[in-house]
Subunit: 402 residues, 2 copies
């Protein structure tokens, strides 16, 4: 598979500066996108001397989740490697998944005496309360042929992992969350025949925990099962590209994705200043640095145009510290677009900037979606090809063919 | 397969004016690419009235060899049809390869008394000396089940072809060239089980020739085996597109690639003036003209920005003679980029100009990578789709579907 088979080693360091949900869209009143409105002197100056373009995370018009977006950024086909929400949740808390595990995201809800859902998030209970409910589940569960792990994540969210011992657990099981209140949870339903054994186990599990969880609160707690997914190991960035990669993110989910791809994961950084300090510490031991900035996505989801502009400006102001470390290749982009106008991940393409000593100078005067479209040197291309571009600019790929 | 199944015949002539390694990148001091720096009045005037864009030979960031680059130019998937170096070398000297032949590039090296390599190119011996060594090999070789051909190429380079008689020879055999001096050649090693029979034959071949070659010089000669590849016949440009194609190149390798794709190959032209004379002679008998200009690539590989600029200007000055013949479609592009800054084939996209009576006028003021990115009408697209575009503009494709 290309470009994997062409990889060669050198000392060139690659910085991935990922502003989550970076791409926006034109606000009809302001006649600008968030990136156009933001004052970004560092990005603008760098973009003029960089290759620029737009990437399509999955397919035009399709909004990716965080999993597919990041998989594409790192050169993994986001459709072939579509990771289940359960796996993402378990990986996010650092749970060591094994090949064949069935991972499930649990939302603790509250239900009335007739078993109808009152609150799908149980009033967003504190994480400590979530831990208590997980312990109750652990005590109640006893299933033949599988080991069961129940771990709190955050607030009402937990992760359940079924580890098979001598049996096979296939996924393809519908969520039991009806996405509504006033109705009972959905039954566990296999969407394909191979998933029937695992479905039967989950039905038994729910029978075992329903009584103890109902007794643990008033109103009664009930676990909604979501994103039921079988884990399979992914080839790491080191195996595929020979990169010694480290992720410096502040949110668990992005650490989890990084762990799934074999990156070392830094713990403890809470903002870009801390992330810079961390990257500086890894500079001599690693050669691929994934810096993840969350606020651009969060403010986009809030629908707050001005706050997203401010987040972009914060990331711009922090960039020089990373550039001073002297990376050979710098990539600034997002894993998808989150326009404030959309208030959610969207299917818009994502602006990208790639700087290296052999970059063509795109000459864009400002780094934005529109400038990248009008004057980009890279055109619009599948996001999963970005890693090949970065490796090529790092001189880390041999020539293909004679 | 599209566009093959849509092909229809007419009299429209297509000129492929290929400047090898045409694409460059921005020199940070000059703030220009080679194409931007070059004075190219002919190309500039033509580009304004032509479709322009950028092509990706293989995948973003991947630098292609000459084989994949040209295969893509002619509409052949460069990954599916990745041609081995041995096949390219044998084809380059006009050797008539047959289906199933195993072709090998040989570099004559010199070795010391302990068999360690002194010079991997034997001091770049003259081609006549290479011919003498080939004759010595021919006399020494006797292998069961295969006919063996040994032909000089140039200086220290030769081609060996094993033609099986009733047996199957699979490739997947490692080079024996250790790419270093002071160490012995590598043993012949099969990279997959099917390649073991051919590997065993090559080990015997090396045993047979080692003594005679050692006796032929002081220090001893030794043949390093590289690019061991099984030949398979490719459908020709005539079979696929109904084109009566002729290649007018000055370098053996490009003639070889053209032969592999069933083109007629002109012999004897040594410069663009001679190539124009040749094309003029073929004008009434052919309808696809592949003119190959090497200097742009060679000067890029030298890392000589100014010399590459001069090569581009030479090609620009020679273009009017070809245009005066009245081709219906003119394509000017390269098989890959060779920026002087990189001193090698690179993974940058390649500027392309396509002129026809129905071309959209891109209005670019100068033909360059940056102008094609900023104002191109074709965008950035896989190089293997260029042939379909040329055929479409030549009105040589029927409508697809009802």
């Amino acid at each position: 598979m290309l470009p994997d088979e062409l990889v060669r080693q050198n000392d060139c360091r690659i910085l991935y500066y990922i502003l989550d949900g970076l791409g926006g869209t034109t606000d009809p009143d302001r006649r600008q996108t968030e990136l156009e409105a933001a004052r970004t002197p560092v990005l603008d100056e760098l973009a003029a001397r960089s290759e620029t373009g737009l990437t399509v995370p999955v397919l035009p018009g399709i909004a990716p989740g965080s999993g597919p977006g990041h998989f594409a950024l790192f050169g993994y086909d986001p459709v072939e490697n579509n990771i289940g929400r359960g796996v993402l949740e378990a990986a996010g808390i650092g749970f060591g998944l094994a090949e064949g595990d069935l991972a499930i995201r649990v939302n603790f809800a509250t239900v009335d005496a007739e078993g109808r859902i009152i609150d799908r998030r149980a009033g967003r209970i504190r994480t400590e309360e979530c831990g208590r409910l997980c312990a109750i589940m652990r005590d109640a569960i006893g299933l033949e042929g599988v080991e069961v792990f129940v771990e709190p994540v955050k607030e009402h969210r937990a992760a359940v992992v079924l580890r098979p011992d001598g049996i096979e657990l296939a996924d393809g099981i519908a969520d039991t969350d009806p996405q509504a209140t006033g109705v009972p949870p959905l039954p566990v339903e296999a969407l394909r025949p191979e998933a029937e054994p695992a479905s039967e186990l989950l039905r038994t599990l729910l029978e075992q925990v329903t009584g103890p969880l109902a007794a643990a609160g008033e109103p009664a707690y009930y676990p909604l099962l979501r994103g039921i997914a079988r884990f399979r190991r992914y080839p790491s960035l080191h195996e595929r590209f020979g990169l010694r990669a480290v992720a410096v993110a502040t949110y668990p989910m992005y650490k989890g994705i990084s762990r799934l791809l074999g990156m070392d994961v830094h713990e403890g950084a809470t903002d870009l200043a801390g992330q810079l300090e961390a990257v500086t510490g890894y500079w001599s031991s690693h050669d691929f640095f994934f810096v993840h900035f969350k606020a651009t996505d969060a403010r986009g989801e809030d629908g707050d145009f001005d706050a997203k502009v401010a987040a972009i400006e914060e990331a711009d102001a922090a960039l020089p510290g990373f550039l001073e470390l002297g990376p050979g290749v710098v990539v600034v982009t997002g894993d998808h677009s989150t326009p404030a106008l959309v208030r959610a991940h969207s299917g818009h393409s994502v602006p990208v900037l790639l700087h290296s000593p052999v970059a063509r100078w795109s000459g864009v005067e400002t780094f934005s979606e529109i400038a990248c479209a009008h004057r980009g040197t890279l055109g619009t291309f599948p996001m999963m090809h970005l890693m090949g571009l970065a490796l090529g600019h790092a001189d880390r790929l041999q020539k293909f063919g004679a």
